[in-house]
């Protein structure tokens, strides 16, 4: 059996489950008695076991099986949640993660049996009753379905809701002497292609008679949206033994239950009041509601559990959230994004061509054409936004692992600390989210390891014993800002200075003239670490320069604010979109350049006399602020076409809370531009230029990176 086509889904879902487990176990540590959490953990562990089993990863299955056993006992109140259990569980999760990584890299789970872990789990189990651990775990499904089965004895067709037409068909058939059976088919747990087996069952039954109702619906069965069993109501002339035999002939069928249908014992639709509701119906409904409530968590596995429920009265509540989403390969989205880019370039060309033809012929473009072009513009802009949104994912998926990491660090470093996070729902482009995890981890580790002081120092400084690390994310205009802050030591600029001199990065004379900010920037030099000791948490000096280069590769930037003795804040600023931006087109010395609207604050008309010199640098006074002036013609090595005494057009650009005035010759207007790389050979050779774009007339314009000028 080839399961490789499911591998990707398996990996995705496993990662999700592991993350869920991590979060839930952390919660459990806080509230050891919370039944909801315990149930959730149990379900996740069970789903993991099932998935690993299906994919043939035996070792993974064994480990999850044992974890499940422990949880089943916790659930039954036979084991209490203690600190050592939590620790073991976390180790198990790490082991599972290792399996997953192995599978992702090589398609094989590896050979680590993790026997010590399994033994520890079993010790916990045996410590309680010494019973057979393997038998201790009742199947989740059995437990879940138990209340219903008390009434129905596994005859799940009794839960099928019949509407008026179905009842009429059934009673009509019974009048004609045909037989009406309810059948519940259970497929073996090891079966991989449940939908295919179900299809064969349907086919076998249809040869003998007619299927009037199936639960779940035929469509859901086809899409494999069911657990291990499904129920049918069939009308046939054949006798029951023949029907069950036909179904049992299909391979991988575990059991077939069939019986004559008694309309009065069935659940009936609300509006078919003609038939009396029996006692049984109401109890079945109650159990349905109870189980649905347990499974109400909007999570894939929980949703699946809810779906097989006899959720007769509220099909909407049982509908899994996952049904409304589609997994799409990121490459397909990239293709889509490229096509949108080309569409925007084509649209820009159309605008340029229409303007050019109007100029040539001297006849204004007919207003109908202009209207349509404007309409096209709004459509392409919306299309671009929609595609961008599709690519956006909340940073939650990345930051969720941090509470666990901080917990581990807290134990390892023997410092008390607490991580507070906000803005986990902030969305970023998927490619950025994938890359941002490592830099954030570095910063958090940094804060934990040499940001926060030891307990004694904290006490001396009158700080609370538990150190605070914060991770805040929020959107700021066209940027997303992620801040990592701690209330620890802050950056000791003297230590940094001395270290830099020791390393020969700067001379003592240079050091004396450096501003605080310049000194802090030294931290981002390769192989620079101020930790006096190298621990395995941080201090090998591979951290901050990697953080910086990674963030810069994502067209973002890092900034540090620190106050010695009070803590430091690392601010990461990332662009919302990477491919298409709104830009202001300007002309400098006859050349066209684009400046991202995101970095522009205002545009000013300044008389040359307003320019003052401060420390030999040109500045202007603007509404109480002193803003340095950057003459773009000098920076770009061109000659300005403006006369000396003419008024200047100054673009006030901002970066964080710093501003600068960029002097340009002419403004062309706002345009949506597609950022193109300038090719391997030339990219990143000029710091001022962050890329190029193709204008409507086919010409290339360069994109100025205003940030480098501030």
């Amino acid at each position: 059996m080839d399961v490789s086509q499911y591998l990707e889904i398996f990996l995705d879902e496993t990662t999700e489950h592991l993350q869920n487990l991590n979060t839930q176990i952390l919660d459990l540590e806080q509230e050891p008695e919370n039944m909801d959490t315990i149930n959730e953990i149990f379900r996740s562990a069970h789903s993991l076991k099932g998935m690993a089993g299906t994919m043939g990863y035996k070792r993974m299955q064994n480990l999850t099986h044992d974890m499940e056993n422990v949880f089943s006992e916790v659930r039954n109140n036979n084991i209490k949640v203690k600190a050592n259990l939590i620790d073991i569980l976390f180790q198990c999760l790490d082991a599972l993660e290792e399996y997953t990584t192995n599978i992702r890299e090589s398609g094989d789970e590896g050979t680590n049996e993790n026997e010590p872990l399994i033994k520890m789990l079993n010790d916990i189990l045996n410590g309680k009753d010494g019973g057979d651990a393997a038998e201790a775990a009742p199947d989740l499904k059995a437990t879940e379905a138990a209340p219903a089965e008390d009434n129905n004895g596994g005859k799940k067709w009794l839960d099928i809701k019949l509407d008026g037409t179905d009842q009429m068909v059934i009673s009509e058939a019974q009048k004609q002497g045909k037989k009406v059976y309810g059948v519940t088919v259970k497929i073996q747990e090891t079966c991989l292609l449940k939908a295919a087996r179900a299809f064969l069952v349907f086919k076998a039954v249809e040869e003998l008679g007619e299927i009037i109702v199936s639960n779940p619906s035929a469509q859901d069965i086809e899409d494999e949206h069911f657990e291990l069993d499904f129920s049918l109501i069939i009308i046939t002339e054949a006798d029951m033994a023949k029907v069950t035999a036909a179904i049992s002939n299909v391979s991988e069928i575990e059991s077939v239950l069939a019986d004559n249908i008694d309309l009065s014992a069935m659940q009936l639709d609300e509006d078919s009041k003609t038939v009396v509701h029996t006692e049984e119906t109401t109890t079945a409904e109650k159990s349905a509601e109870a189980t649905t409530a347990v499974a109400a968590a909007p999570q894939a596995s929980a949703g699946a559990v809810a779906e097989k429920k006899p959720a007769a009265n509220k099909p909407a509540a049982g509908k899994p959230v996952v049904n409304r989403t589609v997994r799409v390969d990121i490459e397909k989205l990239d293709v889509l994004m490229n096509l949108v880019s080309e569409l925007i370039i084509a649209k820009n060309s159309l605008v340029a061509a229409s303007a050019a033809s109007a100029q040539q012929t001297g006849v204004a473009t007919p207003s109908g054409v202009n209207e349509q072009i404007e309409y096209l513009e709004s459509v392409t802009t919306n299309l671009h936004e929609s595609v961008m949104k599709v690519r956006m994912v909340p940073i939650e998926s990345v930051v969720n692992k941090f509470p666990r990491m901080i917990r581990d660090l807290s134990k390892k470093l023997d410092k008390k600390m607490e991580l507070y996070m906000s803005g986990e729902e902030t969305e970023l482009d998927r490619t950025v989210v994938d890359e941002i995890g490592d830099p954030l981890m570095h910063l958090l580790r940094n804060s934990a390891d040499h940001g926060l002081e030891s307990a004694e120092v904290r006490a001396q400084r009158g700080k609370p014993a538990v150190g605070t690390i914060r991770l805040d994310a929020y959107q700021d205009g066209n940027n997303v800002v992620i801040e990592v802050s701690d209330d620890g030591n802050g950056i000791d600029t003297e230590a940094v200075k001395n270290k830099a001199i020791d390393r020969g990065a700067i001379t003592p004379e240079q050091a004396a003239n450096m501003s605080e900010k310049e000194i802090i920037d030294l931290l981002f030099l390769p192989s620079f670490s101020t930790a006096k000791q190298v621990t395995d948490v941080s201090g090998r000096g591979v951290g901050l320069d990697v953080v910086k280069s990674k963030i810069e590769a994502l067209s973002g930037e890092v900034e540090v604010r620190s106050k010695y003795g009070q803590g430091s804040t690392w601010i990461i600023r990332l662009p919302l979109t990477l491919a298409i931006i709104q830009a202001l087109m300007v002309v400098v010395g006859g050349e066209k350049y684009a400046i991202s609207l995101g970095s522009i604050q205002t545009i000013e008309d300044i008389a040359p006399s307003e320019i003052k010199l401060v420390q030999n640098k040109e500045v202007i006074h603007l509404r109480g602020n002193v803003i340095p002036i950057v003459r773009l013609d000098k920076e770009l090595d061109v000659v300005s076409t403006r006369g000396e005494d003419e008024n200047m057009t100054v673009i006030i650009a901002k970066k964080g809370d710093k501003t600068a005035g960029l002097v340009v010759d002419e403004l062309l207007g706002q345009q949506e531009i597609v950022i193109k790389s300038m090719g391997k050979y030339i990219d990143n050779k000029c710091k001022l230029i962050s890329g190029a774009t193709i204008l409507g007339d086919g010409e290339v314009a360069l994109i100025l990176d205003a940030n480098t000028l501030i």
Binding site: E342, D637, M678, G679, Y681, I682, K685, V700, A701, L702
Partner: protein, 149 residues
């Protein structure tokens, strides 16, 4: 270039003109040949990097082989072409040449003479010489041409 020289093994070269001299470029590197067009200057680049052009929606860097070789500035004429080459390390690059003449097929054993070739030397872009119809064609080592020294 492959060290192995088998009789009958041939390579096709595109013959280009730079100033008065003829050069050959191995055809396997060549992606496209386009007419000279407006090149958008990129600031702060060495002189030989002329800028970028739009080649069917892609932005391609353009360099002047002549400036890189220390010859005089290109003068755009009707015959001037941009040869788009694809190199493993440097990616896609357009190179300005004065004229594209023809495609020749040279027998490696008979017609190609390796030169005593010093990779370290600064302006050495010619790795071998081809003999063709009584004339000589200098065969360019493109990787050396694009390399920054």
């Amino acid at each position: 270039m492959e060290e192995l020289k088998l009789v009958g093994e041939t390579i096709q070269y595109i013959v280009i003109r730079l100033g008065q001299e003829q050069y050959g470029i191995d055809i396997k590197y060549i992606d496209n040949i386009v007419r000279m067009q407006h090149v958008t200057r990129v600031p702060k680049m060495p002189a030989y990097l002329k800028g970028v052009i739009n080649l069917r929606g892609e932005v391609i860097p353009i360099m002047s082989i002549k400036l890189k070789m220390g010859l005089e500035e290109d003068e755009a004429t009707k015959a001037t072409r941009i040869i788009i080459v694809k190199l493993e390390q440097a990616g896609t690059i357009g190179m300005i040449v004065d004229e594209v003449k023809e495609v020749v097929t040279l027998d490696l054993a008979e017609q190609v003479e390796k030169l005593a070739y010093d990779k370290e030397e600064k302006n050495n872009f010619v790795q071998s010489v081809g003999k063709y119809e009584g004339g000589l064609i200098s065969l360019l080592d493109l990787n050396a041409v694009v390399q920054e020294k």
